[in-house]
Assembly symmetry: C2
Homo-oligomer: 712 residues x 2
């Protein structure tokens, strides 16, 4: 451990500045605190900036171009000299409001390079590189200066010139959706596989060139794990990566706006951080806090109202049961303002008073914090596919959903109802109604909202991942904070660690989640990849916990099953970090498996410590975590389509103390596409020296809860 | 007078239905109540709908195509049969909240034609024609039906096939601005003049084809005055007119959205009304209430808070005095959220406490209802030209504008402050802040807001006159009504009579107004054209009343004068109808001309009756009006660049009573480009038999106030 590091010091900076003579130097090098990484910046032909990165002397990023192309003004591509350069070491730690670790260390060496364009009135930009022990973050900065106030970005030209034809876990580039299944291939195979990988998804806008989205997870032939993403995506479009499959070179591709522009910038400003997390151990990738560290601390003065949430919801039954619907009426043409009580009821509306009370009772009985209710508000009859702006008003319930009655009933049971704001992609409509919607929530005791952006975006021509929408999601989070409301966004741009800055934006979907288990099924390796990709940016509302894995059970004509074992569903509560965790199945199914359900009731959702025990992207992930403020530990392990035996240690437990571990494991005959519900619950005593070989079925997993031996 | 017409009956309908056998009839004809108009509808080749219109047997619109082109679905262009047709006579009257007449008669014969497309599942549309004694209104209607819920309009193909090469008063087609100067030419000359007519204006998007905007005013060689516009523009883009200059044919051209679509439609719905006001007397055009009659009555339950407003404002000095600015700071790069009190004051900020108090005092002393204050809120330093979204927050004052202090001071003086919400074209930013902005207004005793849309629209790619913005303006009016706030919009789409439906949206700019007198000057005939064009749609906040007509007076280096006489500025208060009237000059100038200023103090802004005494577009307009609820009359008359003598009668005065008329007239040596401030105030006794020949100087006018002789 670095001697400068002091656990108690939340803000402790050692600054070490080196000022260089301008114009004379064309290259700069820094190393990571542990010296494993080396970052070189240099100006090459015609004053064009390049960077390269090595890890333990292995090339990670070969010399790669940097640059920003500007519209209707000179670009920041070349013609640069280094006018100043400075280095700095920072070693601090901080405490997230909620998270995988109680305390996060933020230790890096920084290189700040000021580049001047003498031919453009000495206009300057800065490049800031932060080199951590887990990788690199860098960004472009545009200081306020006489000749630079406003500019429009035509494209960012950041290259990631990879050192080889790595194995890559990828989804295709798209401006509107990140809900693709992952493809595992070599980089060179991407162009040939792109079309197949671009499966049909609602409101998609694939990039025609070979491209992938971030977080992009790779493994090199020489054993390096490399993850490329971004941090602190604010007031800028999401970065996708164009793929040059012959030279293994990625290049940034920003999501355009309605008129094809890529970013409206006002100095003093900067791009998000471009992040490259690297290790020779896959577990280090999952343990990395680099992206969080590159985000700004929250400015919220009071965060006491931001709490983890374990919840159930009127939700899964819309996907599989075939017995209930979001919509109340049979009609397919409705308008806000009409009298919805005059619709012809379709007889299958899910969010009825009766059904919600049933969920509230179940939540209260089993210790859940909240009940999500979707389909409570008018407009669902024709909510999708019409690029319609005024679909929902967010304040008018269906006639069979009594807001006041359910508010009071939930309060009497100590349960919160989670509001649902599906926007149908109409962000303009949501923004104009936001204050009224949030005031309605406060008036009715709601503390959290699930937002949704299914469909083509309005403003028409904008994209889910463009600058305007990026700002929209943040605006929603900030306005929600004004009302002390937490936000769980679905179909939003993938996270980039902004839950540090906006801790009430506490979870997102932004990937292919459990709902797809009812729409064709997730690949058995999907959740061994997600922690290396989607979850690098932040918590996912993955909505695990499906016990009735065989969906033909509902006799609704489908021939479908969830592609996991039941035990694997339990493992997700640990392997898929989120301070918001759903028990997604319907209450009736949990009542049928009370022993397995005990794990969901027990498992924590906020943590003091996290131990990534084993991991290989696409194959397996095993994680142990200590519950926040409690002497309880939980372990989750998942495997892909292959059976596996995990080799577990418990050395994270305090030494010399005995604990009782309850193990929720696959049955020997279990399988993701066979006996999914075959599971075994057992207990054993463990201590810090215990080792355990634990079987997982194909597509299976296990979960363990560890508690102190009760005092006799 | 039609014997069916009863003044006291606000709702009196005579319905006369004729149902025709389907499929057999291909043509229908109706006449106006006074039989002067005849409208023929017919299906021609391939079931394509056509209409034609005559007035006193003269052709107005020769047989012209109708049709709606739909995107990605069959169009409503042809293949029609008449499946039903019905006629109806309606004769009612109604009282506007504010207006030129206390009671408005709404008398028309209607033809409703239901057209079916047998090849498209018998999809139907309706065409509804209403023929008044002052012209025609017609629209397309799309009833809810099994095969028609949502559709997207690619273009509307409504033709106006004119009968000759008329003289036309026009501004060029443009998606974003209607602030052009008028060109007077023959229709055939439009293509050659279009480029010259398209003078440079902030945020313009001219249509490349030869085109004009509506209201489009024409005069035929055979003495017909023809005005084409639209009524009730709701949830639809504005209609502009493509010009076929060789055949004198106009065709509708809708303003597109960001992706090129022209209208998102959900049945049951309709287009706005296309209006053709016709007469052989120009005065009848100005007296027409056809457009208002085609708008829906207001749904507001309480309109008691909607009042006419006569106001002054911290405004004109920004344009001419060169001594004050909207902005507080010298900086040209500011962001919401920064501390604006730390800017470097530019020393010329207009909206200071001191200056506003001066205006409030002046308003109180002279009987004005309100003081507009522009430049009160942070963000003006770089508000324009950057396509910046978050320019203003509408709630943060500059450090030298004390909201609470000025609120209390104004209240103590019985004066309201008018809020100013310049959006810089960023409608998304305004909408998301609207509730907070209006709540701030209520909290601080504001009752009216002037909105502004200078600059390129955000959502980017949308236009001022497109469907999205059309809906935005209405949304603002409706949300304002929630807070009992009146709205005066600038740079919005031109009005279409919606002040009947949304009476709190009580005035608009939407044309080249007085501000241009400080930016090159208005043409001397401009205000003899505006009543026939822009004002056909609704009240204009023209901001008249400039007394210091020579702007070199301010010694700010300009060589500029207002292109009217002082007396003409007074005439505008009568000729340019609005329930919102500004005395636009700075208080100091009114103090220098107390005799002329008396007219502005006296003149009414809401009326019982209006008498259009003389009018010829481009030449002159003389109007008399009776003040609402008072035995006071006011006359205004304006001429173009030519001197003129008006021949006035006073036969609208009650018979047998004597009145005192105060006449504010041009001096004999006055001229719009010479001795503008030469005026004569005189009085004379008048009665209903009086006649008066009243001189007007070149570019001049006069105003008369008529009061009862005080009892001795």
């Amino acid at each position: 451990m670095n001697p400068n590091y002091k656990k108690k010091a939340l803000r402790f900076i050692t600054a070490f500045l080196v000022l260089l003579s301008p114009l004379l130097v064309t290259s700069q090098t820094i190393t990571s605190p542990d010296k494993n990484f080396s970052l070189q910046f240099e100006l090459k032909e015609n004053g064009r900036p390049y960077y390269s990165l090595t890890y333990k002397d292995k090339p990670v990023i070969k010399s790669s171009k940097l640059g920003i192309e500007v519209k209707d003004a000179p670009s920041f591509m070349d013609g640069f000299t280094i006018s100043k350069s400075a280095q700095l070491t920072s070693d601090t730690s901080w405490e997230p409001v909620m998270g995988e670790e109680k305390t996060i260390r933020n230790h890096y060496n920084e290189l700040e390079v000021t580049l001047a364009q003498s031919q453009n009135n000495n206009r300057i930009i800065k490049l800031r590189f932060r080199l951590f022990n887990d990788g690199l973050g860098f960004r472009y900065e545009f200081p306020k200066q006489a000749d630079l106030n406003y500019f429009v970005i035509k494209e960012e030209h950041t290259e990631f010139n990879l050192a080889g034809n790595h194995k890559i876990f990828w989804i295709p580039g798209d401006y509107d959706t990140n809900e693709y299944a992952y493809t595992t291939s070599k980089i060179a195979e991407i162009p040939a596989l792109q079309k197949k990988a671009t499966i049909e998804i609602n409101a998609q806008q694939p990039i025609s060139k070979p491209s992938v989205q971030t977080p992009s997870m790779m493994k090199s032939d020489n054993g390096l794990y490399i993850n490329i993403h971004e941090a602190a995506l604010i007031n800028y479009p999401a970065m996708q990566l164009e793929v040059d499959a012959s030279s293994f070179k990625f290049k940034s591709h920003l999501v355009p706006d309605a008129v094809g522009n890529k970013g409206y910038m006002q100095t003093d400003t900067q791009t998000p951080w471009r992040t490259i997390v690297v290790s020779d151990k896959a577990t280090d990738i999952l343990a990395s806090k680099l992206i969080l560290n590159l985000n700004e601390p929250t400015k919220y003065k009071d965060v006491s109202w931001i709490k983890p949430v374990k919840y159930i919801g009127v939700w899964w039954e819309y996907f599989v049961a075939g017995k209930s619907t979001w919509a109340y009426g049979k009609e397919n043409n409705v308008k806000l303002g009409q009298d919805f009580s005059k619709l012809t009821p379709n007889g299958k509306h899910g969010a009825t008073n009766e059904r919600v009370i049933h969920y509230i009772d179940f939540a209260a009985k089993n210790g859940f914090d909240a009940v999500l209710v979707e389909g409570w508000n008018v407009g669902w009859e024709d909510w999708i596919g019409n690029w319609k702006e005024e679909v929902f008003d967010f304040v008018t319930p269906y006639p069979d959903f009594d807001v006041a009655k359910l508010r009071d009933y939930a309060a009497s049971k100590g349960v919160k109802i989670i509001m649902h704001h599906e926007t149908s992609g109409s962000a303009t409509n949501y923004e104009r109604r936001l204050d009224r919607a949030f005031q309605f929530m406060k008036d009715n005791n709601y503390g959290a909202v699930k937002t949704g952006y299914v469909g083509q975006i309005i403003p028409r021509g904008e994209h889910h991942d463009g600058q305007w929408m990026v700002n929209h999601y943040i605006n929603v989070a900030e306005r929600a904070a004004d009302y002390k409301i937490m936000v769980n966004s679905h179909e939003a741009v993938r996270p980039t660690g902004l839950h540090r800055t906006y801790p009430n934006w506490f979870a997102q979907e932004s990937a292919r989640g459990t709902e797809f288990e009812a729409m064709g099924g997730l690949n058995p390796d999907h959740t061994t990849i997600l922690p290396f990709t989607r979850l690098m940016g932040g918590p996912m509302d993955f909505t695990p916990g499906i016990f009735q894995t065989d969906l033909t059970y509902y006799n609704t004509g489908g021939n479908q099953h969830v592609n996991t074992t039941l035990a694997k569903q339990l493992a997700y509560y640990v392997t898929m970090y989120s301070p918001l965790q759903m028990a997604a199945d319907i209450p009736e199914n949990y009542d049928r498996f009370p022993d397995a359900f005990q794990f969901i009731k027990d498992v924590a959702v906020d943590w003091d410590n996290t131990y990534v025990l084993e991991a290989e992207p696409g194959d397996y992930v095993t994680i142990a975590r200590k519950a926040k403020g409690k002497n309880e530990w939980f372990v989750g392990s998942v495997t892909d389509e292959n059976s596996r035996t995990a080799n577990l240690k418990f050395d994270y437990l305090p030494k010399g103390k005995k604990y009782i571990a309850t193990i929720y494991a696959d049955g020997k005959d279990a399988s993701w596409n066979g006996k999914q519900q075959s599971y075994v619950v057992s207990t054993m005593k463990v201590d810090s020296k215990t080792t355990l070989k634990q079987f997982m079925a194909p597509g299976g997993g296990f979960a363990i809860s560890i508690k102190e031996v009760p005092a006799k």
